[in-house]
Symmetry: C2
Subunit: 134 residues, 2 copies
C-alpha cells in the first residue's frame, strides 16, 4: 500500500465515496441478474432459479436476502403446503430501475467499442511479445 506522507491525506475513501456505496449494493453479478429478473414484475423462487442461468440455490437465496435487507426486494410467503414464495421489487427497488437502465443502455450502445478496444490492446500486446523474442 502507498504510504500516506505527512499531511497528504487520501481524498478518495471507500467509506464515503458515492460510487463505492453504489457498488456495495449492486456490484455482484448475481445481485444484478436477480434484480433484472424482477424488472417486469414478481417471480417465484424456483422460477427465478430456472430463469437465471448457472445460479445455485445458495447464491439465489443469499442474493435475495441481501436485496431484501437493503430494502430493494420484498418477500411474500404463502404458507400453503408446499409453500409458495414470491419476490418483487419494493418502491425503493423500482426507483433504482431508471439509473440502472441508463447504464445498461450505455453498455449496449458502447459494448462494441469496448470489445474493439480490447482487440486492439491485445493485438499490440502480442506483437510486442513477438518483438521481444526476436
Amino acid at each position: 500500500m502507498f504510504l500516506t506522507d505527512k499531511g497528504n491525506h487520501p481524498d478518495i475513501s471507500l467509506k464515503v465515496c458515492g460510487y463505492s456505496r453504489m457498488l456495495e449494493i449492486i456490484s455482484s453479478k448475481w445481485t444484478v441478474l436477480v434484480f433484472y429478473a424482477l424488472e417486469n414484475g414478481s417471480a417465484r423462487y424456483g422460477e427465478m432459479g430456472r430463469r437465471i442461468e448457472g445460479i445455485s440455490k445458495k447464491m439465489l437465496t443469499q442474493t435475495l436476502r441481501q436485496l431484501e435487507r437493503d430494502g430493494l426486494v420484498m418477500r411474500h410467503l404463502t404458507p400453503t403446503i408446499p409453500p409458495r414464495v414470491d419476490y418483487s421489487l419494493t418502491p425503493l427497488g423500482e426507483s433504482l430501475l431508471k439509473p440502472m437502465q441508463e447504464l445498461k443502455k450505455w453498455t449496449i450502445d458502447h459494448y462494441s467499442d469496448v470489445e474493439q478496444a480490447r482487440d486492439h490492446y491485445d493485438q499490440s500486446a502480442v506483437s510486442q511479445d513477438f518483438a521481444e523474442n526476436e
Copy 2:
C-alpha cells in the same frame, strides 16, 4: 445449480445480459475509484496511489491496465528519468460519466433509505433469534 428441465431454457444469461456486460466493466471497487479519480482531469500514477485510500500498487496498476484495455482510460508516458506517467479518461470513458453519475446520485439520494432498511432487517432478525431462545 438448478437443472434446466426439458425445453425450459433459462432466459437470463450472463453472456448476453446488458447488465452483466456492464458489471464486467465497472463492478470492482478499485475500477470505480480509479475512474472516479479521473473524473476531473488527468492524474499521475503516484498521485492516484496517494489519493485512493488503501489501494496497493498491484491493484492500481492492474485496474489501470484493465481500464486502458477497455478503452476507457489513456496512458501517457513522458520518458524522462525518472519517468512520468499520466492517466486520463478517453472520450469513451467520458461518455460513461453521465450514466455513472446518475447512479451515484441515486445512491446519495437513497443511501439513507438503504441503511434504514438494513437496520430494520437486522432488528427483526435479532428479535427472532431472541424469540427462538425463549
